[in-house]
Symmetry: D2
Subunit: 474 residues, 4 copies
Amino acid sequence: MFDNIHEECGVFGVYTEEARENANTVYYGLYALQHRGQESCGIVVNDSGVFSYHKGIGLVNEVFDGENLGKLPKGRIAIGHVRYSTTGNTTSANIQPLVVRHIKGPMAIAHNGNLVNALELRRSFELQGAIFHSTNDTEVISYAITQARLNSGSIQEAVEKAMYKIKGAYSLIIMSAKKMILARDPNGFRPLCIGKLPDGGIATASESCALDSVGAEYIRDIEPGEIAVIGEKGMESIKTHCGGKSAMCVFEYVYIARPDSVIAGQSVHGARVQAGRFLAKEHPVEADIVVGVPDSGLEAALGYSLESGIPYGVGFVRNRYVGRTFIQPAQGMRDDSVRIKLNPVADAVRGKRVVMIDDSIVRGTTCGRTVNLLREAGASEVHVRISSPPFISPCFFGIDIDSRDKLIACRMSLDEIRRSIHADSLGYLSPENVLKIAPKACCGFCSGCFTGKYPIEVPDEMPKDKFESKIVQQ
Amino acid sequence: MFDNIHEECGVFGVYTEEARENANTVYYGLYALQHRGQESCGIVVNDSGVFSYHKGIGLVNEVFDGENLGKLPKGRIAIGHVRYSTTGNTTSANIQPLVVRHIKGPMAIAHNGNLVNALELRRSFELQGAIFHSTNDTEVISYAITQARLNSGSIQEAVEKAMYKIKGAYSLIIMSAKKMILARDPNGFRPLCIGKLPDGGIATASESCALDSVGAEYIRDIEPGEIAVIGEKGMESIKTHCGGKSAMCVFEYVYIARPDSVIAGQSVHGARVQAGRFLAKEHPVEADIVVGVPDSGLEAALGYSLESGIPYGVGFVRNRYVGRTFIQPAQGMRDDSVRIKLNPVADAVRGKRVVMIDDSIVRGTTCGRTVNLLREAGASEVHVRISSPPFISPCFFGIDIDSRDKLIACRMSLDEIRRSIHADSLGYLSPENVLKIAPKACCGFCSGCFTGKYPIEVPDEMPKDKFESKIVQQ
Amino acid sequence: MFDNIHEECGVFGVYTEEARENANTVYYGLYALQHRGQESCGIVVNDSGVFSYHKGIGLVNEVFDGENLGKLPKGRIAIGHVRYSTTGNTTSANIQPLVVRHIKGPMAIAHNGNLVNALELRRSFELQGAIFHSTNDTEVISYAITQARLNSGSIQEAVEKAMYKIKGAYSLIIMSAKKMILARDPNGFRPLCIGKLPDGGIATASESCALDSVGAEYIRDIEPGEIAVIGEKGMESIKTHCGGKSAMCVFEYVYIARPDSVIAGQSVHGARVQAGRFLAKEHPVEADIVVGVPDSGLEAALGYSLESGIPYGVGFVRNRYVGRTFIQPAQGMRDDSVRIKLNPVADAVRGKRVVMIDDSIVRGTTCGRTVNLLREAGASEVHVRISSPPFISPCFFGIDIDSRDKLIACRMSLDEIRRSIHADSLGYLSPENVLKIAPKACCGFCSGCFTGKYPIEVPDEMPKDKFESKIVQQ
Amino acid sequence: MFDNIHEECGVFGVYTEEARENANTVYYGLYALQHRGQESCGIVVNDSGVFSYHKGIGLVNEVFDGENLGKLPKGRIAIGHVRYSTTGNTTSANIQPLVVRHIKGPMAIAHNGNLVNALELRRSFELQGAIFHSTNDTEVISYAITQARLNSGSIQEAVEKAMYKIKGAYSLIIMSAKKMILARDPNGFRPLCIGKLPDGGIATASESCALDSVGAEYIRDIEPGEIAVIGEKGMESIKTHCGGKSAMCVFEYVYIARPDSVIAGQSVHGARVQAGRFLAKEHPVEADIVVGVPDSGLEAALGYSLESGIPYGVGFVRNRYVGRTFIQPAQGMRDDSVRIKLNPVADAVRGKRVVMIDDSIVRGTTCGRTVNLLREAGASEVHVRISSPPFISPCFFGIDIDSRDKLIACRMSLDEIRRSIHADSLGYLSPENVLKIAPKACCGFCSGCFTGKYPIEVPDEMPKDKFESKIVQQ
């Protein structure tokens, strides 16, 4: 019903010298990464080589309770994962971290990203007699590592070899009997950083906000192409795959990451404020108030206000209690669940010319309804400003935008879109400026969804269910 | 662990001329009132005199799902309730609406407020042979109405008579076989308003935001002391108990109500902005940025910024996914669950002199930790401004503040508090100005928790479990 | 779908001098009484005057688990209840034991039986302003006791007075702050016995098998009309209401009670064997094997075999795993869920003339299907013998038989029934002999369901929902 | 606590020409096989090549409800499995049927039995780069088939080739995109039979009682070593592996199978009666009554009675409501949960010399307690007769008996056992006669657990967790 964008995953891991209640640390880390995936989650603990795990469908606070979290033993290593499934097929076999046994014992993998050659890899493994339980890339990656392991002296060597085979976006946390291994694809599409735990030990997370939530001090981002091996000898780095063209997803700054995270040296909050400033320069308008659509539009609204001098206001209240199991309103009622989730503050906008800042428009339905809310609340004009360029192409690297035929910017002109969303004016951030919102970032960017130009070769279309699973769990 | 303040209840009701899916409408109304009570909830539908209900412990979206909501029949009247229990004894017998049978058939009651003479009333009923299943005021109220009903020609007459007996705060929705009756205590401590449904029919709610969420048009507030009878002849009003001293809880504007609600003609959002403006006048300071503690501090921060000219900033990210079943961090980790729920945006505050606006301080622990978060994030100074006066006395009218010996303002001087919360300066809104934050409100106010002076006689101390239940449900 | 007969309740209680884990003892006692009610159950513990309880819908092992049972505190008194609801309205308000507060503090009541004047009693209480939460007799009984308590020096005196008001069948366990009180109606329709716990203390139960299951030694049955008060001074007996016409339900021996129970001095097993012997004398037949329909037909089959000399055989296997949530077969499959629950042993009956013993026939459907199972398994003849007389009248004293218009014996002649169930011959136990199956029992019997003659005055028809509840819980 | 014997599995499958609600048929079939495994279960439906499944931990009626069963689509093929895990590690990954994807699409396997070379097979697959999700034999079997499939023209050819690799006991149902394939190991350790559905189509089951429960007509047993391929061309049979030494588990007749099943042409009921007759001849005794320990001792008791002339009696009542989640009695109570589950009928045994028939003795604890129950109920003498020989050796073919050091017959002489169980006399069925209890069976037998002599080579000891899983699911 809503035209949402979904990040597929968040990953978190902990390594300490002695066995601790690291499952708890991962639990709090996953909490802070919940915005990256709300469909399922899991935690695996390595207690002297024995892997114990709990996984389930739901939010972190639905899947874990004091009882099952308490049953997970102390251990030196623990990793976790939150996931949003893009394929519509939420089977328990797909919940990560993936935990398998291979020639060297147990192995667990948490993966954020999306491979572009998973299907052909799977086919090649099947031709050697492999069987698959799930339909996710992670099982393909685990085969690549497992097969490389047969001719490798160590797990890190196997990971290094496997990286010659797997193509696309991946930020991986791999747990073996004795080590935690981090790996990021050569383009560094998805973030991954490490920090130091207050009482010693290493934490790793998709975003720095998760390090903060467990009291860990940010050290640095894992480099594109880097393999970091954390074991008894401390951390060592393998950089065979480094040196490629860095292409971090710029939409992480716009929408996905939490504003208190710092990615590649650039604060997400700062990038959003900057996007708002650019917007004010690119698309100025006479107005009485600037409001952001919660939550990700708020900082850009602040930037727009600061740059334009138009006062900032609180235009909406977001209902914090709308959970996963929200029941859609029946036909009898106005088919308007936006109204349940988001409420305009009439007192703030009544009789005013309003600049409304949102992060993006996918199909346009939600945006149009949001504009209507402001009008019903008495806004005299509504000027929509979007803190990113129009979506015109799918993402092949881990974000579920939508197919081209549903993207409003592929179907309509700017003015058609404006009319469709009932706005008095409409302005998008330009593709040039979106690449400048993160000036402190020490990396290049992928903005393929806004340009159709990708840093590596991609398939023609993003398949909804690339593995044609033919297996459905009820 | 946290020093929270709790509103006990929110109520919602619907009356339509023909039988509709009114349980659904109540469901969405309760969603919008969820902030008034997160512990349990229930919905009762009146289908031609047969009452069907579903109740449970948890949030609206935990208690209700498509299956049980779908089982509730169509009906002309439906009422609902969300509740926070102050007594620590969450038994299913206490979940509202209360549904009972009396001499005239079934009756359901949803109550927001707190009686000051419930204990003596209960005793008097027991002396006549009454038995009680619950420990809430609502069952006492239902006895008062039931006994009055024996000598009354109608349910509204019984309610009118009962109101001579019950003392304290109450906003009631009563459902009988044929009518929906609304009643508000003579002081009007708790809000209650009515609106017109889009396709005809009346909706009633604790706050207007719930009317908005179901597309109903706000008509007016129920007056203090008023009884509104909604039945086949439309709505009629009984005003025998009107004309007393109006004393709406001013803390509804400061903290409890949702900013998009309008109470007694005054927007809550506007009142909070005004409180911030007053604060800026009363306690000016040289600073670089004003930030609000989410969610209720945000509007006051905006007011402070507007009045003072100090730029408004986004200082915190609140984790939206921390649910009821959040597991408290173990001893091993820093005992700091504030860190999980609230995260400072370092980029916004680093190196800056920060004005931090919060709505209130109860014990001081949370406030002190929040100040620390800003300092750890690099704030050079933290000036705390509170958009209400210090709590020095309990609330007897439906809000669970805390006992006097735990209130920091009863134990410490202003400067001691400032030091205790590690602030560079501290300023509260004055008791005079808090009464002026809602200039458009057509009512008087109760600010007893700030002054110790109450509009009606109160007991010496607010008992934690006034009924000494002696019954515990596991 | 099945034409079952339902006993409504089983009760169990424990009193010990010091506080013990009596909730556990009640748990095991209820297990042994599960056959008396499978719909809901509950346990209440009295810990120094504080009542803690847990109740729920389902079997004992579904409602209770280690966690909730473990949360119930130690206490000197604990009582429990298993229930089958005859009214079709399983609301949580109806789950027993009923736990209420009255003038003297908390009180809990567990009731087995059925009042014949509950409706008029309820009406009279309502005329005094009473409100009711449930639709069961137990709440009416609690009002009768509570009102009597106002003018009584003790709870037992109040029970004694209340017994002048309540009419019908009741075996009660009442728990007050300090005492456990047992009461049985003057006719003693339903059983209730007491025993001595291995480490001291008193246990009471509907049937002696529950005493056995907790290792308690049977002492004696509570007499019809007796009130037994168990408190700090030991047990005392009030016999004001004794001396009436004893009329124990004879169907307890035939079907309801467990064969290892002893009621009024008579073993249930022995009574069933005797019923089989009488059947063999009344309705002899030439046959090769006698088989019983599990479970209650087995002993009567043994008796028939012993008396007739025809060999006893195992004719059926009953599926022990068919639980409450069994899904009825869809239309596509033969509409024959008898086949799922009961399976013939072809090897035992193939080519044989079979005497099949069952305890009763209600509508005839199940019996007909059971006969068919034997025929399909190869039986050459099937002679049906029923170890009780035909049902021709409802039970007003706690057993849910069926309304007269559905009872096959009210609609058909003996030969019509025989044809309807596809039997080669059919014989019922005579109304005379059913009164002789328990020769050791020191009591008279009620056989009203077989004769239409009841020991006390009864209403014209057994109402399905005597309270016309108008309240439905989803 | 109890010294039980556990069968590991039951399997059921259906093939029809058109798509039907075959999931329902499997559901009822699994109900009838529940005695073969109570820990977990699952159903997979093949709807035109798309496999939909639901699996879970618990009994069939706990795992399946109307909702999830209703979500399984219609399909031409459906297979199911009930399982008891012997390894103590009940992870969801181990619940069967196993559903995987391989080179040819989806495949599902339900397996009853136990391989003796699973560990070495797994090792060899791992050396080729295989990864394992579970710790059961079924995943090993699926690899064997998948790898053979690479060089085979059909799934049946792959199964045929795989059978050269896998050694031990297996009755398999394999579902591919278009076929249902049945396979039984060359010795035929575990049963597997087929039947004709009433409206056309084939059903297959571990036992014929499951065919009966869905109204299917028994056709024949699958032969040892046979592969039956059921597809669009009907059923064809591959007998490459037939002709080996037939060695059906004789303990299926004694204890495991349901008495109404017929295995290899022999009724289980008849075999048990015959065992009882042999016992009476081998170990006669003067006594007044013969009672069986429910449920599997009942038929043997009948046989003993028929042969000896000593009257048959009902000595015990078994509590039908003791479910999986039964809470063990606390220390305070007599540590005697036998008392909860099994109750003696004092009336039947008081003052009598009792012959008590049970199917086996493992550790002796339960048997001793059962004898005690009879003595407490008043039996003057208790003569124990066991309808199978003493266990002296583990089972390697799918039954979880116990390790040698816990088997009472490995530790004590006959007379020591007799004293340990408090019996007046004790007699086991002889190893010679146990082979004669099924005279109509068209097969040889394995009685390795009674003799230590097995039809194929076995490891030295039965490992408790042969795969050393190192992975634990919480």
